[in-house]
Symmetry: D3
Subunit: 270 residues, 6 copies
């Protein structure tokens, strides 16, 4: 059971949020669920806090009484600027500023591979390299990471920023063989991020035990994270179902995959 | 004379903007000046483009026809979130997105020491270290740097992000002996940022030839930047007028100075 | 099955070449075997291409129609200069230049520990350290690695350069406990080098899962390489059969072993 | 069986010394035991050499005839300066100087986490970082490490300096989940330090296979060290019995634990 | 004039101490001079404090009332162990512990090239590399550096440890062309070490503006140190008077010069 | 006057060779000049040794009696493979092997920017980065550097490999503003390479004091090299005469300039 009294879980209705609800009291004695729509099937340790991240007062009300936050909420893919701005940038600020005002001690943030998507697949990087976002979405992730760095350096609020690769039921393309994070490993990583005695401001990579990894994930290891799943187990299936890509296609060359091959959202959506 | 046909200079009415106007056609054959209020005393190579950075259409109109931008505009100090968000974050996005739409080839951005303010003064850093902002203002600077990184990696628009230390007529406190950038050197650094053949995405530090520097400024050197002024020449005067600080005061300990000692703007302003 | 249509395997009659032939169509749909003498017992997916690497026209003819090359051929030990020059240096150039002319997309090259033999055993190195060859043979390996780097940077031909430690049936001396590569793991590493979507120009180390390793082999791991064998399993046997060396003997001190203790071939052969 | 003829084991009566005696002839054909009091229950391969490390002549007499030393002796915790000086500093010099005079070839030294105790728990360090001792005890450990470096560089006497984390029967607090070294793994690490062909001057970390480790222990791995125990197996028990600490308490923040929270021994003992 | 009220200068009668006395009140408003024998010709801002560094009570008495210390005292060359132990090791501890008890805020310590003497001359090192002492004297210098690190991390007492190369009237051998520190530059470096607002624990190299330097001295530069002298001006004279050495002689190969070529003091003195 | 008795200068009739002849006895007491054609106007300290580098016996005869070599000879630009192979690869081996047989102690080798031509202009590199040649010519330069590394590690023959940027009478294009090496500075750098007491195997960059440099040239500085000329003095003239390049043109993007934009020599010459 977590030593936190009440943990706010944002984005609780999404696929990852739903997976994390299975952690139950390993997140906190009480888990407050927030999303745009009310969450269903609340357990005895759960409570609901429907809200729009763009609304500071609503966020502040939801944060009140919590001592930790798992922040999954916001726009999960590339989108037009206004959406990124409201959901991810303002939303991220609202979470951190409410945390400061209400004495929250630790935040676990769902960052993304798209914060560093423009590194080549042949490069092994760790959490200290300069960010290289591959989309406005990725830029918004780097923004919240910088917020986390700031709120720790000035106010002592700890953050684990987990750059999630591909959190899906199973790997379906060749890049997922590198970046896949199973729901089970995702739960473990979030739980370990909450139970570690000290995390300061830490960047970890969210991936299972995939041998093809291009990430040096020693920070996650230092939290005690030991992934139980591996994309390797799906390799034969994925190789059989998918074509070999052109190594010079940006979607193959860079860690961010198809995000790096796309143009600007405004143009692409036409 | 610059090889750029028309350069947009934002924040043209501020102290630094005014200093840069003296560069004349070394910035561009035509220099378009923008600020919230009309600029005065236009020279024959200058044209006016009054605008609010928070207004995308106005920014886009001003960028049209330019092939380079020197972006000084926006909120120059810590402020409440709404101001930072509109002027620096949305404003920064508007500049880059307008640049993309209108074929601008290079942007010189006035970033700040406050993007890395939480490094200790005893650490020598270069432009590749992880950012450690000391304020919401500093966070907004890291946001625009990430935008610049993204627009170069995906769209090929080059950026020199100059992390300006202290750009004032002369150093007035002991920290300025480290961080001072004279107006003359500022002009040279911006001019060299525009005339270099290739800059990619580059982070340089904006300081004069100060021997107490805590920055490894090899990127600026590679642009051909050779500062002509030095804060050293003001050392005796500054030492005489100021008190030795407590080395454990955050304002003395960290590179960001008083920004690191301040609390959150919302609380401090009360 | 490999996604390559036809792969040229040079040095196919040697011990490593023979071991690799067992990979069958995991190398390529068709595997063309080359050596100085005709290869025997051709399988249905195999074809023969007898040649001398020093003969550019013969190499070019053999490369024609292939889209990948596994280049094991050439002189495998220290030798007089003329042999190194013709077999390894000219031979290496012939392979790369023929590859360029005939549209080959990827080359897997059998480089060697002797390219970095003068690092001390107590140093852990990765593939990015400066080369330190321990013989003319080792110098020739660095030459081909530089060719591979060049042909990728200019012509986009990908290379995995595998610095093979000691590829033998089993470890027989104490240094082999560090450097041994089983035939089975060798096959896997070459197969993974061919099946990875993008390799760019990559240096990997060819060793099994030996706990005494002095190599940081993260590049091989990023290909998905998971060695199945370990020299550790032979440690007791090797310790029992061999003497402890003098730690200051160059053969013990350096990674290249006895190559570092030898003089110049011309003198030693007398 | 070790290839060393006679190994001196100092501190042989302590908990770690007693554990190491179980290694028997894997340390040396003969193991000479030294401590302030005579050791008991000598085996057929053991001999006794009672001595005070502060007495050079006694140390020299005990070292005579040995070709290796495992140096555990001295003050094992913070103490007043006089004790540290006599037991650890003079004692350390006596060991090395006697080794030089009597032709000892290798020393395995029991250094400590307290030599680098002031690194934060969120930092992963290896053996090459600058030392940051957390106590006079820790300073004395860095002193002997520097002695070892000197005696290797000038006289060729090899040293493995093992920075032991927490060598106890089992982990009992949350920091031990990171730093624990089982007696079994301790034995293995010392044995491997003696049997490796070349160690030069090497710093290794003494910990079991703990996933929460903040140490990059590649040097120990290069000796062939494969820990068989893990603090992870005790994690549930430790979590249940202990409270979550305050992440900003020095005892939680830094690697040295409570040593970092203590004041100066002279003051604290009052 | 220094902002320190009273500075203790140990080793005040030696050549370097005498040179530093010329700094006058740039060291402190009052400068207390200590050495084994009384200092002569006291100026109005000077006071005498004769003492033996091996005597803690005497050191404590001399430190009382001071807010900074410039610690030059102790054995300045290789010597027998007893001398090194009493003068440099115990002496160093006495200085730091007295400083802690009496509230001293900063210590400038005269460390030495011999703390890192075993780096090769062809290596450029900075203050963060592992120490590699070349003598017992050098080991004692690393001991005091570790003390300084400890007293800063735990008690906040700042230290600048200046690794002095060769502080003589002028360079007289070829190695001095690299390591020379003029008395004038030595004064400046100590003064700047005292006047900088924050130094934390810092390692700087004590050398003039010698172009042949093998030290990256950015820390000294960050104090504002701008050497005015250069060994280059003596190069022709030194080249004319001295022979070219054998590059493989340890005295030529290593940074510590003849210290690296010497044996152990006990043997050499015979 | 050099301490070497007789120095062989290969490529003595070329532009750089002719410039170096002005160094006179600062190279060696006797300077033996070699090129394909006899050198003219021999001074009293000069002697002629006409030879073809591809002829080992001729090289060996010329090396006999020399204790140092300045090796400029060979093909100075991209060429067909046969020329590169004979002049630069075989020629390089002949020089080193003859040096070994005849007891030569030091070689100064004219390497080239084209050994690392594929680094981007915005990257600052030093001599330890992996080579990235931009031509067969560049590959041949890396070959000789590896030879030099080998002959030092095994036989103790010292080498300074000078990667010359652009050694011409004056800079004539914008890239030369970065890479220019004046004849005067070239002379100084070669002289300092010969007079330094120990160089081991060292890579230095051959450039004047150009502020736009993308090379960290600390190794050259450690030889005492202080360039007296600067391409900066030609910047206005060059800017006036040349067009701004496209930053994405390989000739502008990469350090090797036009070599990076060219195709393969065999194709381009048609």
């Amino acid at each position: 059971m977590s030593h936190f009294q009440r943990v706010l879980l944002t984005g609780a209705s999404g696929a990852v949020g739903t997976a994390l609800r299975q952690s139950g009291t390993r997140l906190g004695k009480i888990v407050r669920l927030s999303d745009r729509k009310p969450c269903e099937n609340l357990g005895p340790h759960e409570e609901d806090a429907t809200l729009d991240l763009a609304d500071f007062d609503a966020v502040s009300e939801a944060v009140k009484g919590c001592d930790a936050i798992v922040h999954l909420g916001g726009q999960p893919l590339e989108a037009e600027w206004k959406t990124i701005l409201d959901s991810n940038i303002s939303g991220g600020y609202h979470i951190y500023e409410a945390a400061r005002r209400h004495g929250v001690r630790r935040i676990v943030y769902a960052s993304s591979v798209h914060a560093i998507g423009y590194y080549e697949r042949t490069e092994t990087i760790d959490g200290s390299v300069p960010t290289r976002p591959d989309s406005l979405y990725g830029v918004s992730k780097t923004f919240v990471e910088n917020l986390g760095r700031y709120y720790f350096d000035k106010f002592g609020i700890e953050t684990v920023s987990i750059r999630i690769g591909s959190c899906f039921p199973e790997p379906t393309d060749r890049r997922h063989l590198i970046t896949w994070l199973s729901y089970r490993d995702c739960r473990q990583l979030v739980e370990k991020s909450l139970s570690a005695e000290r995390v300061g401001f830490m960047v970890a990579y969210g991936m299972s035990h995939n041998s093809r990894a291009f990430w040096d994930n020693r920070t996650a290891a230092s939290l005690g994270y030991k992934p139980e799943d591996s994309a390797d187990d799906y390799a034969d299936k994925v190789f059989a179902k998918t074509q070999q890509g052109d190594p010079n296609d940006p979607a193959v060359r860079f860690q961010g995959g198809s995000f790096c091959a796309a143009g600007h959202f405004e143009d692409d959506k036409k």
